[in-house]
């Protein structure tokens, strides 16, 4: 580019740059800077070096938190995807008018505070909760079931929260499938199950991958739901970080866990971007 054309280019686009400047500054000051600070603390507190990261390999407590978190996230992701697939399928095959109502009910939970929802689950699942009382009254059980303050309770709350996030990418991939393909497969001799397995399922694969990564990443960082439904007995990473930083004032360990989590999530996103077109996952294209 010559100097003149460079100047013209800058002159033409400068006003646009100015428009996004406030947002850019906001991002830098309140997002990028604190993140960098977190990374910095994780390699400087209590002493400079990778001492904090060493604990990933040596500390049973840290490892237990990771294992618990991963286990809950895997269970949540698998069940969320199964439920989400069914919901998305029902949505995609419903008549258009009905679809709008169904969408409303899929999205409704997203507009209710996660705190409210967690407490709603507490009233349902606790020892004297609706479910246990009802089961006791009908005589199906003699002792109240332990539905809460364990991994089961956390998973229930998280799955409930995550289902819309699975439904949306799955629905997007199902909507794009030519509705004649499954009948065509059956006309060619495939049973219902086989038509689904050989035609419908492979065509929703991008949606499945997207939903899996999305749900899994979101699950990794859950804080409120595990804190309330886990009752402090089952620790997931987010709560562990809060514990280290706010209660035990061990900034180094807390920021190390935060940084590791962030890196893991970025890795997962990168992996997903290799497998599917990210823009499509979030509804474009």
């Amino acid at each position: 580019m010559t100097r003149a054309s460079t100047a013209r280019f800058l002159g033409a686009s400068l006003p646009w740059w100015l428009l996004i400047l406030p947002a850019l500054v906001l991002m830098l000051v309140f997002y990028v800077y604190p993140l960098a600070e977190v990374l910095w603390i994780s390699v400087t507190e209590p002493e400079p070096g990778l001492g904090n990261y060493e604990r990933l390999l040596t500390s049973p407590a840290v490892q237990r938190v990771w294992v618990t978190t991963l286990r809950i996230c895997v269970i949540t992701t698998v069940i969320t995807l199964l439920c989400g697939y069914v919901v998305a399928y029902a949505l995609a095959s419903a008549p258009l008018r009905l679809q709008r109502w169904m969408f409303l009910f899929v999205l409704l939970p997203l507009w209710i505070s996660v705190l409210v929802r967690a407490f709603a689950w507490v009233t349902l699942l606790r020892r004297q909760g609706l479910i246990n009382e009802a089961l006791l009254a009908t005589g199906l059980i003699e002792e109240p079931l332990r539905l809460i303050w364990n991994e089961f309770g956390i998973a229930v709350g998280m799955i409930h929260y995550m289902i819309p996030y699975a439904v949306l990418p799955l629905y997007a991939s199902m909507r794009d499938i030519d509705p004649r393909l499954v009948p065509a497969a059956r006309g060619l001799g495939a049973s219902r199950l086989e038509a689904f397995r050989r035609v419908f399922l492979p065509l929703t694969l991008p949606g499945i991958i997207a939903a899996t990564v999305l749900v899994f990443i979101f699950s990794l960082g859950f804080y409120v739901t595990p804190a309330i439904l886990g009752g402090g007995r089952t620790l997931m990473i987010a709560e562990y970080i809060k514990l280290q930083i706010l209660d035990l004032i061990r900034w180094g360990l807390g920021t190390m866990m935060a940084s590791t989590l962030l890196i893991a999530i970025l890795l997962l996103l990168w992996l997903m971007s290799r497998l599917v077109d990210i823009r499509r996952v979030f509804g474009q294209g």
Partner: protein
């Protein structure tokens, strides 16, 4: 490659959606190895009928038999019919070869045999060189051929085609019509073809069944339907027709005389239930109208004076719109021996013989 072709009998089949009768009491027999077209405007029930034959739509009443064996309760995958869908419905995640192999795979055919039969089927439609392409990398005509190969590779007992050419441009459509007919002759299979395109139906079929509002209106060989349409709808839908609405004046042996306004015409053919004074409807094909400069002397001809209101030239023919005392008439005249010079406002004499037109039932 087709083993044994089978006959299909449709017995009083109806399909109702609430108060709507998509298919209404249709009976039809489709002989072995025939090329039968279900023809009708959109909403006539032709696709619903095809879907009932394929097994995707359960008839409200009636039976469908394949060589005396009722197949109505069978799901589509148990019927062993090949089907070419509108828009082809090729599986986008499979290559051409995998698409064609699909019906064999679900039938658990051994791998080596699949490879051989897929190659044969692709050779049949001249697409062997594109076996590893994905459907979206093919042209419309090529996709259509893949759909055909896929529908034929498992030696179905009949082939159902749902407007397979409607997505293609006119020239390609004409080419593929010839190809399809040729393919039909080679495989010897029964073809059931759905279309709304009357030219396609006329040029390809052994037999045409015309549907309207869910009912079977008339069935027969293309020429028979074209020459002797039973109803006004058939005369109008299959080709073009002029209609003369008149009143019977005289019944004769082998025909009748009728009057439209002040004009008098004669019509050959059975007068049926007509009596003097009853209304008669006569259909007249534009190409059977002679356009002359002066009234012919032959007293056997029906003659109608008029003036040319509009005309157009198609290379092979002139299409004339002529205003007459009985309304506007259409006439098509071969261009190379048109006896008059077409010009707007020019007075002409229209003439046709008593057997050129045909009496139809108003509907």
């Amino acid at each position: 490659m087709a083993a044994l072709s089978q006959a299909l009998t449709i017995e009083r089949v109806s399909k109702h959606y609430g108060p709507v009768r998509a298919v209404d009491d249709v009976s039809l027999t489709i002989g072995r190895g025939r090329f039968v077209t279900l023809l009708g405007p959109s909403g006539s029930g032709k696709t619903t009928l095809l879907m009932a034959i394929a097994g995707f739509v359960a008839p409200t009443s009636g039976r469908i038999l394949l060589d005396e064996r009722p197949i109505t309760p069978l799901p589509p995958e148990k019927r062993n019919f090949g089907m070419v869908f509108q828009g082809y419905a090729l599986f986008p995640h499979m290559t051409v070869a995998e698409n064609v192999a699909f019906p064999l795979r679900v039938r658990k055919v051994p791998r080596a045999e699949i490879a051989r039969r897929v190659a044969d089927a692709l050779a049949l439609v001249q697409l062997g060189h594109l076996a590893d392409r994905l459907p979206k990398q093919l042209s419309g005509g090529q996709q259509q051929r893949v759909a055909l190969a896929r529908a034929l590779v498992f030696e179905p007992s009949l082939l159902l085609l749902d407007e397979p050419l409607s997505a293609l441009d006119k020239k390609l459509r004409a080419e593929l019509q010839v190809e399809l007919k040729e393919l039909h002759r080679r495989v010897g299979l029964t073809f059931i073809y759905v279309t709304h395109d009357q030219e396609e139906a006329l040029s390809m079929s052994d037999s045409i069944a015309i549907l309207r509002d869910g009912r079977l209106v008339q069935e027969g060989a293309p020429a028979a339907l074209y020459e002797r349409p039973a109803t006004r709808f058939v005369a109008d839908f299959l080709g073009k027709s002029n209609f003369l609405e008149g009143r019977v004046e005289r019944i004769e042996a082998g025909g009748f005389a009728y009057r439209v306004g002040s004009a008098r015409f004669v019509q050959n053919g059975p007068s049926g239930e007509l009596s003097v004074g009853s209304e008669a409807l006569v259909a007249l094909r534009p190409e059977k109208v002679m356009v002359l400069g002066e009234a012919p002397a032959d007293p056997a001809l029906n003659i109608l004076p008029g003036t040319i209101a509009a005309w157009s030239y198609f290379g092979s023919a002139f299409a004339l719109s002529v205003d007459t005392p009985v309304g506007r008439m259409q006439a098509t005249v071969p261009a190379w021996r048109c006896p008059i010079e077409p010009a707007e406002g020019r007075p002409v004499q229209l003439a046709w013989s008593a057997e050129a037109s045909v009496r139809v039932v108003a509907d």
